[in-house]
């Protein structure tokens, strides 16, 4: 018996995983412009494990579930993305430890905590041309939307638009972190792979959200 929030959480994680599997090539190609081309591969190999072992993760509570996802990711994703995405999930999990229901404000708190974790882990900040440059504006948009009383669907739409705009805006930035930073000025002209990934995930979430299963289904 899972709660509605738990089902929504599962839905979101599953959407993230599936987006990374479906976009392996695109994400890799983006990373090969000024990076080393493994971003798509790394995420896909990690979220593949998440999908394959989906039913096995401890679902005592939302925090525990997200922590198990984090462990799976950390165990399989290498490169910069393993620690970055693993840290994000661990931090988000910490915010809702032992909880079965979460509010919109909780979601914002989870995102903020994930962002702080990424910043600390990567010694990076907004403006360095990383996924933070999509994640932070997107979280800002979500927070505003919730504060102004919008529902989840509207909030996700707002976040998706913000993420896309922000990801596109990384094109003109110069990379100051990660492998792309070695090419200096040459990193200008193409968007950051991590930021684009955030946008693509949010857009998919926006599309699929209305079709998610909101009632618990008894598996026969």
């Amino acid at each position: 018996m899972t709660s509605p929030s738990f089902r929504d959480t599962e839905f979101v994680v599953r959407e993230i995983a599936q987006t990374c599997l479906d976009n392996e090539k695109q994400f890799g190609d983006l990373d090969s412009v000024v990076g080393d081309g493994d971003f798509g591969y790394s995420l896909a190999r990690g979220f593949e494990v998440v999908v394959n072992d989906w039913d096995s993760y401890d679902r005592s509570d939302i925090g525990t579930f997200l922590q198990k996802i984090a462990v799976a990711i950390t165990g399989r994703i290498g490169g910069t993305s393993g620690p970055i995405w693993g840290t994000a999930f661990i931090r988000a999990a910490g915010v809702v430890k032992g909880r079965d229901e979460i509010s919109g404000d909780d979601v914002v708190a989870m995102l903020r905590s994930a962002i702080e974790g990424i910043k600390a882990r990567g010694n990076a900040d907004v403006g360095d041309k990383t996924l933070l440059d999509a994640l932070v504006p997107m979280t800002d948009a979500a927070e505003q939307s919730i504060a102004s009383g919008q529902d989840a669907a509207a909030t996700i739409s707002a976040a998706a638009s913000a993420a896309r705009a922000a990801a596109d805006a990384t094109t003109s930035m110069i990379a100051k972190r990660g492998r792309a930073s070695y090419s200096g000025e040459r990193s200008i002209g193409s968007p950051d792979a991590g930021a684009v990934a955030v946008a693509v995930i949010l857009e998919r979430l926006d599309t699929d959200w209305p079709n998610r299963i909101t009632e618990e289904v008894e598996t026969p």
């Binding site: 081309g37 493994d38 950390t74 165990g75 994703i77 490169g79 070695y182 200096g184």
Partner: protein, 331 residues
């Protein structure tokens, strides 16, 4: 893509299996962590030395596991730092009473995985220290704060601390030695062609028929600039000048000179480059006392080369001269 590969996702595991099968007496393969380790590790009388890095740089580092070099290497997939778990589990497996030294080329992903693994194994009571290697002069420190990359010069740190560990040096001593070697080691590389990661299936970047990439990274990251192909003499200048100017190396210095192939360049060309570099250094009053020509740290099938100089002192020279036994390259 034309390569000897079955499933690209099995590229690294199948290579590691081959390496283990070729060295049954000396190496153990632990598939769960892409780990190649010495059969006799961990030992009570020496610090265990571990390197991670991504794959695709062979012989670095899985093929330099052996007496006088590494105790274990747990690489990630091609060009990806290992997942933190691999490093953590490897560290625990190789932890002995004298502790563990982690060698890390200075890249964001590697730093993070090794930092996390170090924290976690320290929490488990293991004595662990980390050495960062950053010998690549093509990346200018000033513009960024991630700092320089670790490339082929890693070999000299590995060889020196490997020899010292074999003699029983403790962890602090290895850190001292490693930092010293790193501080006098400089590398610069250039690519004649791009490399093709098996999982990508196509070249990582496009280079024209007459174009080369100067200051290229060992992961196919583009370099500082693109130039036209030129005679070997000029290409050696492109590599040697920034290296010499950086430390700087000066008249009267004794150095080790490494000409490292990036994977697709034949050894004949590397010796040709070596000869030119040796003579250019001699003309500047710099004596090449030790020479290294071949493949040490590659970038899959990339054609190209890097030049590394190490300023020698008696201690470094003695450690580089010490014997080492590795599975790779048998005659």
């Amino acid at each position: 893509m034309k390569k000897f590969v079955n499933d690209p996702q099995q590229y690294v595991p199948e290579m590691l299996k081959g390496l283990a099968l070729a060295n049954p007496d000396t190496l153990t393969y632990v598939p769960e962590y892409n780990l190649i380790m010495r059969k006799d590790a961990p030992r009570d009388d020496k610090v265990s030395i571990i390197q991670g890095s991504g794959s695709g740089h062979e012989p670095a580092h899985v093929m330099t596991v052996g007496k006088g070099m590494l105790d274990g290497a747990c690489p990630g997939d091609v060009f990806a730092a290992p997942p933190m778990d691999y490093v953590y589990e490897t560290t625990k497996l190789l932890a002995g009473p004298k502790g563990v030294l982690l060698l890390v080329n200075n890249y964001t992903g590697d730093r993070m995985a090794f930092d996390m693994a170090q924290e976690m194994s320290q929490a488990d009571g293991v004595t662990v220290k980390t050495l960062f290697i950053d010998d690549d002069v093509s990346v200018q420190d000033s513009t960024y704060t991630v700092g320089r990359r670790g490339v082929a010069g890693n070999f000299f740190v590995m060889k020196a601390v490997g020899a010292a560990a074999e003699e029983g040096a403790d962890l602090d001593e290895l850190i001292r030695i490693g930092e010293k070697v790193n501080s006098v080691t400089r590398t610069m590389g250039l690519a004649l062609t791009a490399c093709t990661p098996p999982a990508k299936g196509s070249p990582l970047f496009e280079l024209g028929d007459d174009e080369i990439e100067i200051g290229v990274g060992i992961h196919g990251e583009p370099g500082r600039r693109r130039a036209k192909i030129a005679p070997a003499n000029d290409l050696v200048d492109e590599l040697l000048d920034p290296v010499v100017a950086d430390l700087p190396f000066e008249s009267g210095d004794r150095v080790a000179l490494m000409v490292n192939g990036l994977g697709g360049t034949p050894i004949s060309e590397l010796y040709l480059v070596y000869g030119i570099a040796h003579e250019k250094l001699a003309a500047q009053g710099i004596t090449v006392a030790r020479s290294y020509v071949g493949e040490y740290c590659t970038s899959l099938d990339m054609a190209g080369a890097s030049i590394t100089l190490v300023k020698l002192d008696d201690e470094i020279e003695r450690l580089l001269d010490a014997p080492a036994e590795i599975g790779y390259r048998i005659f």
